[in-house]
Each structure stands twice: as C-alpha cells, then as structure tokens.
C-alpha cells in the first residue's frame, strides 16, 4: 500500500456540493459524511474527493414481468456502480419493497470501502428491485430476475460488475442471472455472478465464510495482544448462519464459548458451552433455535445479559444497533468483533473507545463473505476449483493480512480500528485513482 500519495496530500480542502445527494437524512448522507471526515483527515485531493462522492454509474430500469395471472406488472430496478478504480465492481442484488436509489448508492459505496479494506481487486456496486418476493411465485421471481438481468446486462460482466445475493435473493436467483447472461452471450458465463450453487461454479466454504472470517479476525486480534486462545472466553449474539459458524470455529480453535443467544433467548455456561452438543440441539429443533437447550451448568440469560456478560470477546452477529449509548458502559468484554453490520451506534463507539475497548469494525470483521465471493470468481475465471481446505486457507491469509494492515495503519495514525479501516480503504481507492490518472 505504499503507492504514491503525493497528489493526494497537501492540497487545499474544499467543501463540495454534489448533485445526487438529496439530503433527506438517508444512509447515503451518512456515507458522505463519513467520507468527508476521512477525506479531511487524509487531506484528500478535492478532485478525487468529488469523484468518490458520486457513484461512477447509475442505471435505473423499468422491468416488465408477466405475472402468473396474465397481468403485466412493471417493477423498478437499479444497479449502481460506485467505483471501479480498483477493479470490477462487486456487490449484491436485493429484492425489497422499499429499495430506492439512495439506499443502493450508499450500499454501493460501502462495498467500495469493504473490498478495498481487505485488498480485493474490486470496486463497489449494489443493485435492487422494488418488489416483495413473498408475494410472488417462484416462476414470477424467475421471470423478474431474467428480465432485470437482461436490462442491466450492458453494465455487467466478469471484468465489469459481478453481482451476488443480498436481501431476499439467494443462490437460485444467482443461477438464473448466470443462465440469462449465458444464453444471451451464447456460452457459459458462470463468473458473471458469485454466490451461485456449487454445481454451477459456486465455491465450497461460502456458507460459513463470514463466520470463519470473524473467527480468524478474532484469533488474530488475540494473537496481536499476546493472548492465548485457550484462555479466552467468548460470547456470540445471534446464532444464525454467521454466529453459529463463528462460535463453532472459535470453539475448534480452543476458545471457551460461554454465552450464545438467538431470537428465542440466550444460554450461558461459565465453564464453556459444549458447542457440538449445542449444534446438535439446534439442528434437531424444528425451527433451528437455541430454545430449550439444557446441559449441566447451563443457565438461561437474556440477550441484554449476553451483551454485558463477563467475557473477553463479544461478537454481535445479529441485528444492528445492539450496543448503544445506554448499554455501552456496561459491556465488559475488552474486545468486540462486529459480525453484524452496524451493531454499534456512533455514540456507543465513542464510549467504548474512551474505555479502550478494541472494536474490530464490521467493514473488516465480516468481510469473509466477500472474500470467498472473490475466491469463487477467481476459480470461475480459471475454470479450476479448489477444495474447501484451500478456500479456507486463502480466506485465512487474506483476513490475517487485512487485520494486521488495519491494525498497523490505525496505530500509525493513532485512530481507532473503525476509523483506521475506513481511512485505509479510502486511501487505497484514492491512490488507485491518482495512479491510473484521469482519462482522457
């Protein structure tokens, strides 16, 4: 990351007003505020700052779909590419009734930072269609997906923009997207999307990737602090896809997982939970919940009690805004590794920082998913597929390297990891822009 920064520093600052931000208090405004703050700290070139304040390309499409009853309905869809400075754009496609352009813009920008912070050769993108897939049959969703794909296809491509699943889309939707592009191209293009079923070129290890990445990041922080995994107690909030994988892998690494929770409540065992036994219980529960788990030494706790339990590491891996100003002071963990997106509010972050609690930010901690998406794309491009061990090993390398880069950068700039991660990401994108130069 020692790219020439000469053009990016020591330039006069300018406050920028950019068309496209309608100022309605959206996530997009928040993203711009964060960018402005970082730009000021980095003394970013105003021209590059202006470029990053606007998505590179936005496509809005009206997607007509023949519904099962013969009626034609027209859905609005978007694909926004925030930046391709570091490589092809990467980001999910969501189906939701409330999708709008500002939301998609913001999420695209966040993907730019996320890919940059873990050093992937990607820019950021996001897409969405305003629809409620729960009111649509599978064949209607298939037709919507195919038509939407065809309409945004001019800006897609394995070297341009590679979608992935997001809210209310899944590997099946990715399969339909890949098939649509392949049919229109006349040859198979599985590398057009990631998050595909394994049979179509998806990667082994993808489902556990975010949880595994979290576990790797946790272990590396402990390593940096000189702490032994066996002496470390961990609480995990959320026992879904990510939380359960993180807990299981940390348990395998030797950590003592003392507290878990899901929507049905929490469980605590000072001596450490028997995670394989917990997993057997969850697998046999009709709705895959912790509810009803019993074992010697295990007591029931609430979600709130889990957050403030006496542990070394807390992994919030469920909902946003779980650690807030009203409970941050009561958090006893000295290390928080953010599995969920935005589990810590800005106010809580300041409190935790004052208390010297180490917070590994979501942009870094939960990047394991996009890392394995990248590995899927690499495998598709080379038409050679790795075993799960190799995928996990490469994920390990990237997460460890990224954690250490953010750690060192933050120490060098004397900022918390969250700010350091965003600064490093923006700096990398800005450096790519300045190194490439402006066309023409």
């Amino acid at each position: 990351m020692q790219q020439p920064m000469i053009d990016l520093i020591a330039k006069p600052q300018a406050r920028l007003t950019v068309a496209g931000s309608d100022g309605r208090g959206s996530l997009w405004d928040t993203v711009l505020e964060q960018l402005d703050e970082v730009a000021e700290r980095l003394r970013l070139d105003p021209g590059i700052h202006a470029m990053l304040r606007q998505p590179e390309r936005e496509l809005s499409v009206a997607v007509p779909v023949m519904m099962d009853d013969g009626e034609i309905r027209v859905f609005t869809g978007y694909r926004v590419q925030h930046s391709s400075a570091r490589g092809p754009c990467k980001g999910g496609i969501r189906y939701h009734p409330d999708v709008d352009l500002n939301e998609v813009r913001a999420l695209a920008a966040l993907m730019t930072w996320k890919c940059a912070v873990v050093g992937l050769p990607y820019g950021g993108a996001k897409g969405g269609v305003q629809c409620d897939p729960r009111q649509m049959s599978e064949s209607e969703i298939c037709r919507l997906t195919r038509r939407f794909t065809a309409m945004i296809m001019p800006i897609l491509g394995p070297k341009r923009d590679i979608p992935a699943p997001d809210v209310n889309t899944n590997p099946q939707v990715m399969a339909w997207m890949a098939d649509t592009v392949s049919m229109l191209q006349g040859y198979a293009v599985p590398e057009i999307v990631t998050g595909k079923p394994v049979i179509l070129g998806g990667s082994l290890g993808r489902r556990e990737a975010t949880g595994r990445g979290l576990a790797i990041a946790t272990a590396e922080v402990l390593h940096r602090l000189g702490r032994a995994l066996a002496d470390t107690s961990v609480a995990v909030q959320g026992y879904g896809n990510v939380g359960s994988a993180a807990a299981t892998i940390l348990h395998e690494m030797g950590c003592r997982i003392v507290a878990l929770s899901d929507v049905s409540g929490g469980i605590f065992c000072q001596a450490g939970l028997d995670i394989p036994d917990v997993n057997r219980h969850v697998a046999s529960h009709p709705l895959h919940l912790l509810e009803g788990y019993q074992a010697p030494g295990v007591e029931a706790i609430s979600n709130e009690e889990l957050l403030t339990s006496d542990v070394d590491v807390l992994i919030p891996a469920a909902l946003e805004h779980q650690i807030r100003a009203d409970n941050a002071a009561a958090v006893r963990a000295r290390i928080i590794v953010e599995g969920a997106n935005g589990p810590t509010t800005r106010e809580a972050d300041a409190i935790l920082n004052d208390r010297n609690v180490i917070v590994v930010p979501d942009i870094l901690a939960n990047a394991g998913g996009v890392v394995v998406s990248y590995l899927e794309w690499v495998q598709d491009l080379q038409n050679y597929f790795w075993g799960e061990t190799e995928v996990n090993s490469r994920l390990q390398d990237i997460m460890v390297r990224s954690l250490n880069e953010v750690w060192d950068y933050s120490q060098a700039h004397q900022v918390p990891l969250r700010l350091g991660a965003t600064m490093l990401a923006v700096e990398r994108v800005a450096t790519a822009i300045s190194t490439r130069g402006l066309f023409p």
């Binding site: 996530l27 099962d68 999910g92 969501r94 939701h96 009734p97 409330d98 939301e103 913001a106 999420l107 409620d132 729960r134 009111q135 649509m136 049959s137 599978e138 064949s139 992935a164 699943p165 997001d166 809210v167 209310n168 889309t169 899944n170 590997p171 099946q172 998050g195 993808r206 489902r207 975010t210 949880g211 959320g238 879904g240 896809n241 990510v242 939380g243 929507v263 049905s264 009709p286 709705l287 895959h288 919940l289 509810e291 891996a317 469920a318 909902l319 946003e320 805004h321 779980q322 807030r324 009203d326 599995g339 969920a340 997106n341 935005g342 509010t345 939960n366 998913g369 996009v370 998406s373």
Partner: protein, 188 residues
C-alpha cells in the same frame, strides 16, 4: 376456545382500559381460518393443486413452500392484531442474520419462525396476552396440520413502542435500518 385475560396486578393495562377487548375472540377458529387461507395462498404460489402435497412439503421443511405459508399467516395475523388492538400502529415481518448476503445462504438451509415486529403506541399486558393466545392457537393448529402431537413454536413477536423506534432501541432500530429493513405487512 375463548380466553379471558386477568388484569389483576396489571397496572398498565388497568390504566388504559380503552385498549384491546379483554374478552379475546375465538382464537382457535381464527387460527383455523388463517391456516386454511395460508394453504390456499401456498397452493397458488407454488402451483400445486392439492393440500396434501403442500402439507408434505411443509412437513419436510421445504423453504419455498414454508416461506409462502408463513408469509400468508403473517399477513393475516398482522391484520388480525391490528384490528383487535387500536394502539397498534404497524406490523412488520423480518428475517435476520449477520449480513444480508449471509441471510440469503441461511434461507436455503432452514425453515424459520414467523418473526413479527408489532409497533404499538404503548406496550400493554393485554396486547401480550393477545399475542400469546394467537401464538398458542397457531402452534396447536399447525401441529395438527402437519400431523404431530408436538406443539411447534411458530411465532416470534417483538413488541416495540414509539420510544424504541425514536431512539432506535432493540428491534425499534430495525424500522429505520437499511441493511435489514423489515417488510411492512399492515399499518393503521
């Protein structure tokens, strides 16, 4: 089956006696109707004519069929609660995992609870009793439908009030979330 909620030792409900009817409606027959309509909805969405096949798919945990079934139940229940409790502002349906992309992978793997967020002007014991009764009735009827004596817990309802929403506390924060915006099923 009619359930009567006792308001003894219930200060908040005793103060606000204008809110839900203390005499809960016949939840059992309401649950039967909801299940029946949910089967109809499923049959239409997965294009299967007979209920037997739908029920078999539900028994096997087929995520697509379960998703439609649960969505229909959630919609009906949302409207039911909204009509019975005049303090309810809106009812939402949500899923969760740590990231949206991971939610996509988890959905393939398992059937889940019907997760509702009920936004009410004030939290009352009467509303909790109404929800508990609905949950019991739906669980009983669902167990009967899929041919098991085991009463399956099918519903998870989080009740939030204006303060939770305004201060973004707990599930109240989800309503303004971008990453996990719940789907609004009903609003006053």
């Amino acid at each position: 089956m009619t359930e009567v909620v006792s308001l003894s030792n219930n200060k908040s409900a005793a103060v606000h006696l204008s809110v839900p009817s203390l005499q809960l409606p016949d939840m059992t027959s309401a649950a039967e109707t909801m299940l029946s309509k949910a089967l109809d909805y499923c049959a239409q969405k997965v294009n299967v004519g007979d209920y037997e096949t739908i029920v078999k798919r539900l028994e096997s945990g087929d995520s697509l069929t379960s998703g439609f079934f649960q969505y229909s139940l959630a919609n009906q229940l949302a409207e039911y609660l909204g009509v019975l409790d005049e303090d309810i502002r809106a009812v939402y349906l949500y899923d969760y995992d740590a990231t949206p992309e991971d939610m996509a992978f988890a959905q393939l793997r398992q059937a889940s609870l019907i997760r509702l967020i009920v936004w009410t002007r004030r939290k009352t014991n009467a509303l909790q009793a109404l929800i508990a009764a609905a949950s019991r009735a739906l669980s009983d009827k669902y167990a009967g439908l899929v041919g098991t004596d085991e009463r399956k817990h099918v519903l998870d309802v989080q009740v939030i009030d204006d303060s939770d929403v305004n201060q973004r506390i707990g599930y109240g924060g989800l309503l303004s979330s971008v990453q996990y915006q719940p789907i609004r099923l009903w609003q006053r």
